[in-house]
């Protein structure tokens, strides 16, 4: 019974992803056929040869997500320590949850006027700045779980042995926090990579990412290209899953965070 249930569950997890693959390889698939009548791989060939319309959107998404992930992780690491050393750190950690409570749509719409005044609307820089707020907040929440008395003792030992503050950061803290920094880098990359609302609002249709493309193809009824976009969007997290499952389950750390708060 347990084995049957496990098999059924496995099947239900595979079917959606298999459907995406089939859709992306379909040329002709009408109701009520269970399988496509004709197949094709043209758009995948064009994509890998660099001639597809999806290439600029993919590159734009990669560029934005990489920039957001690097800056937010680099800045959230020292900032999380500053917060964790405060007696009332819970209040500041709650502040870090606020952008998520307000939602990207609300924040994006409300900040659009400011972005327009700063000539950041309809630009990649504007989208990155808007996403940075969310990624940085997430980085603080995640990295705050790193700081504890053991780490503080380690800092004390390093200082006693004559290490300068920069050396402590680069030679002691960064190496020790490397696994968590890797998770933070990956998760903040995904925050930007998966984002649709902020690109739509701040990008104003001029910033072309994969999520924007997927929506456009879906609205136009082109399931084949929408599925191709969907698989491209899933590629980095699938790679992360292949490397280390922990990269994807950092959300579960909300447990520890709330206990710390």
């Amino acid at each position: 019974m347990q084995r049957t249930l496990a098999g059924l569950l496995s099947l239900s997890l595979i079917v959606p992803v298999a459907l995406l693959v089939v859709l992306s390889l379909t040329r002709y698939w009408i109701f009520p056929d269970i399988f496509p009548a004709q197949w094709q791989i043209e758009q995948w060939q064009r994509l890998f040869q660099g001639g597809s319309d999806l290439v600029p959107a993919t590159m734009c998404s990669i560029g934005i997500a990489t920039g957001v992930a690097l800056t937010s992780t680099a800045l959230a690491f020292p900032a999380s320590r500053g917060i964790c050393r405060l007696r009332r750190r819970g209040a500041l950690l709650t502040l870090a949850h606020l952008p998520y409570a307000a939602s990207p749509v609300v924040l994006g719409a409300s900040l659009l006027y400011v972005f327009l005044r700063l000539h950041l609307a309809d630009s990649v820089a504007g989208v990155m700045l808007a996403q940075f707020v969310f990624a940085f907040a997430y980085g603080i929440i995640l990295l705050s779980s790193f700081w504890n008395t053991d780490v503080e003792s380690l800092i004390g030992v390093a200082a006693t042995l004559g290490a300068r503050p920069v050396q402590v950061w680069l030679r002691v803290l960064v190496p020790r926090a490397l696994p968590l920094l890797g998770i933070c880098l990956f998760q903040t990359f995904l925050i930007s990579w998966f984002d649709y609302a902020l690109v739509l609002l701040v990008g104003g249709g001029l910033v072309d990412t994969l999520t924007i493309r997927l929506f456009q193809y879906f609205e136009a009824g082109d399931a084949r290209l929408a599925a191709t976009c969907a698989l491209l969007l899933m590629a980095p997290p699938l790679l992360g899953l292949a490397l280390n499952q922990r990269l994807l389950t950092a959300g579960l750390l909300f447990q520890e965070i709330e206990h710390d708060g």
């Binding site: 347990q2 940075f132 879906f218």
Partner: protein, 286 residues
């Protein structure tokens, strides 16, 4: 030694990066909603607030968002608990041990698209139903996507959230030593159903409450999935805000900002209540 002192300078960045935009957005939406700024603004007025607060659509949309969020989460909790208690260690072994992570790689916008392709009128399930002779045409298939009851949105969220909850509950089951507690209860004469209902579930749900609250807040504010496969009316609050904001008629824009103000106040209050409850719970435990 101090890398840097835990003084004001250490919190300048978080306050600037998070507090700054939040404050700016808060002030802007309030001033815009009161007519203080805006292209077609006639000057300071409460008319937009009166219009929005007296519009039944506002309250329907808020209630609908709460319903969709709660239904998605409740369904996911029940299903995830059932899986964790039915499969136990099987969840961590073999192919299932890896496959359970698969939905975690799917972004919300893809989940919405997949829901349409699986549960739509001409979707995969409809095709299977036709082949089994259950329906004669796509229109015979139950309306799950673009449904007024938000079934498509709930299904998409269910698919996104359940694996997270399975992993969370599986971890809590081990961390909170639920199996040992259940065994103890059974030794003391409790039936299997009683140990589940009065021991395991309270322990696990209580420990998971902070995470579940955060999930609920995120689900209520969901945007991509309801925009993609939600009904036009009623619409979830984020979609209603988007519709008022992005309309060609600029006159509705102040109403969008009334809605954003209202929504933000409700959600921030919910977040603070969750935090206070958590702090209270922690003090109680000590």
């Amino acid at each position: 030694m101090r890398i840097h002192s835990p003084d004001a300078s250490s919190i300048v960045l978080p306050l600037l990066v998070i507090g700054g935009p939040m404050t700016l957005a808060g002030v802007f939406m309030l001033v815009y909603s009161l007519g203080g700024i805006g292209l077609l603004s006639p000057g300071w007025t409460l008319i937009h607030w009166r219009l929005v607060l007296s519009d039944p659509q506002t309250w329907i949309s808020l209630a609908y968002s709460a319903y969709v969020g709660a239904a998605s989460l409740a369904g996911s909790i029940v299903f995830a608990l059932a899986i964790v208690f039915s499969l136990g260690a099987l969840l961590r072994r073999g192919a299932l041990g890896t496959l359970i992570y698969l939905p975690l790689t799917i972004p919300p916008i893809v989940a919405g698209f997949l829901t349409a392709e699986l549960f739509g009128g001409a979707g995969l399930l409809s095709r299977v139903a036709y082949q089994l002779g259950w329906i004669a045409r796509p229109a015979d298939f139950p309306v799950l996507v673009y449904s007024r009851w938000g079934i498509g949105i709930i299904l998409a969220h269910f698919f996104l959230v359940t694996p997270f909850l399975v992993l969370l509950f599986d971890r809590l089951r081990r961390n909170e030593r639920v199996d040992a507690l259940m065994q103890l209860a059974q030794t003391l004469g409790a039936s299997r159903w009683q140990t589940l209902r009065r021991v395991a579930l309270p322990v696990m749900l209580c420990a998971a409450r902070p995470a579940l609250s955060v999930y609920l807040i995120v689900l209520i504010g969901a945007f991509e999935v309801p925009l993609l496969i939600g009904a036009q009316s009623p619409s979830m609050i984020s979609v209603l805000i988007w519709n008022r904001f992005a309309r060609f008629d600029l006159a509705t824009r102040p109403q969008a900002f009334v809605l954003t103000t209202l929504y933000t106040v409700i959600m921030v209050a919910a977040l603070l209540i969750v935090r206070r409850a958590r702090v209270g719970l922690d003090r109680g435990e000590r």
